[in-house]
Symmetry: C2
């Protein structure tokens, strides 16, 4: 229920038209054309369901002048990254939109256009949603639904001492991209800004049986690696000079290295991989065109759980902070 | 990612403690203790999954001084009502919380306490969630997950001309309860306020095979009945004097009758029931202690789809508005 009566007799409320124009074209199988109380979905036979949810707030998770289509795509991709970390296959999503009065329908049309592009690219559809007004900033919440073979979801708690710490792709581009958009970091060909706005979820790598644990890097490599280690009851050592950087991140200069390590918004995968699975991992990477880099190792927790950083000379590296908090 | 760095080296971010203290005790089966990227859930064998999502915004869907425990319970119950309308069984839920800095942790502890009471009562658990900061009001979003026998979910599009229009329980208490809390309607024993704060989702009535269509009444009886008719390509006639009112709503006085019909926040079920299923419906109501009232009938759309209201003398009743819009 909302505090805004329609003021019309017998008319269809404004939200119905809004939903029909903006979101119905995104409806996937099981969405019942967004006309019903809930979506109905038959999971693929014999598969487990995987579900995650992420919210994005205007001014916190995206900039007010970010293009609306990339806001939609990033919201979907961040959630897809959660599925990728579990080695799951996407199926559909539900969406809530809290809409401030100042934001024109055109913004949401572009937002939905971005969702359209990426739901087609990643093979999923909108299952349901809720639209409401708010006196505050835009708040978007997306629930992603996927599936995985029973018992095959990758977890955060199952890394073992001796496993290598591996990472997909390159680290730091998202954090530098945000700074580039603020004019603080040079970004001549807009590669960093593009990575900030459009992360690349690492879906479909088929890591079950290769990695012993996984999570995605969203809040900063150092913090998330420490998290993976703690959840597995281990320590983890990172050789910071091994952390893969893009050409654009290197070009920004060595003074931004710590930002790359702790800035977050990477949406790459952090993997715990036993030494005898390394060749299989590298083969997966080659097959999918995804760079795989070993950046450290998991160790017994005798010296404490959590993360330690070393440079190429074996000296301890200290960082002012390890990542971002959402509160 | 958030705009609020922790400022701590090597520490666990503030949100982890918040989630651990407030939400981990709510974690149900498959939630992986809220420690992983996503929840993993095995649907009951041979069942379809049903999913819906609803958002609530402080100052729009609840009052800032509403008790936090009832805000949590109402958020869950509104979503359970969507499952009830599909004749589905609850399984679990995911939650997003956008938290303004002004709101103390105690508010969320009470909010989670309310969720605890109702998730136990209704037999479901928290599967996952996301917590973020916001410069605006509290925004809460809940995705509900349930299951139903294949092909047995009740729909909005399948009412037939000649079906009776039935409603569970009583109508108008929620809308009058909001006015009572604002001091505009007398509510000596707080029965109306209680109904506003704690709707009663009509789960488990077993309406498949009895009702030909269903939806829940959230935005006003008149509007929602019109919606059910339009989605089925029909008209619907409501005899307003048949609409069941509680003693508290009657005591408020006849000047509030239209508010009852259009105010919303009822979370009762609207049902299309063929005449030869009426005895079965009434038997269900007796078995579950739920009042079932026929308030009208679905008609051929020759006079237009949508809703018409009549009084006991057969005179047309006009209302200034039919319900609420969320935009």
């Amino acid at each position: 229920m909302s505090s805004h009566p329609t003021g019309e007799t017998g008319a269809v409320p404004a939200e119905f038209g809004f939903i029909g124009r903006i979101f119905r074209p995104l409806a996937g199988e099981g969405a019942l054309d967004l006309r019903d109380d809930a979506a109905v979905m038959t999971p693929p036979p014999g598969r487990e369901m995987v579900m995650a949810v992420d919210a994005m707030v205007e001014g916190v998770h995206f900039l007010s002048d970010d293009p609306a289509d990339t806001v939609g795509r990033k919201l979907l991709r961040c959630n897809l990254s959660d599925l990728a970390a579990m080695d799951a296959t996407p199926l559909g999503y539900l969406l809530t939109v809290a809409r401030p009065r100042h934001l024109a329908e055109a913004w949401f049309a572009a937002f939905a256009g971005g969702l359209r592009v990426d739901q087609d690219a990643y093979g999923l559809g909108l299952l349901g949603g809720d639209t409401t007004s708010t006196p505050g900033p835009v708040v978007l919440s997306l629930t992603i639904v996927g599936h995985v073979a029973p018992g095959c979801a990758l977890r955060r708690t199952t890394a073992r001492a001796g496993d290598g710490l591996w990472v997909t792709g390159t680290i730091g581009d998202g954090a530098l991209g945000l700074l580039a958009l603020r004019g603080q970091v040079p970004d001549p060909d807009h590669a960093l800004a593009a990575r900030y706005r459009l992360p690349c979820p690492r879906l479909g790598l088929g890591l079950h049986g290769i990695a012993s644990a996984a999570m995605d890097v969203s809040d900063g490599l150092v913090q998330d690696a420490g998290h993976l280690a703690r959840e597995s009851g281990l320590g983890v050592v990172i050789e910071v000079d091994q952390v893969p950087l893009s050409d654009a991140a290197r070009a920004a200069g060595p003074q931004w290295r710590e930002t790359c390590l702790t800035g977050g918004d990477d949406y790459e995968l952090l993997l715990a991989v036993p030494p005898d699975h390394e060749q299989a991992l590298l083969a997966r990477g080659r097959h999918h065109g995804v760079r795989m880099t070993r950046i450290g190792r998991f160790v017994d927790p005798t010296a404490g759980t959590g993360v330690k950083l070393y440079d190429a000379q074996g000296n301890v590296v200290k960082v002012a902070r390890t990542g971002w908090s959402h509160l």
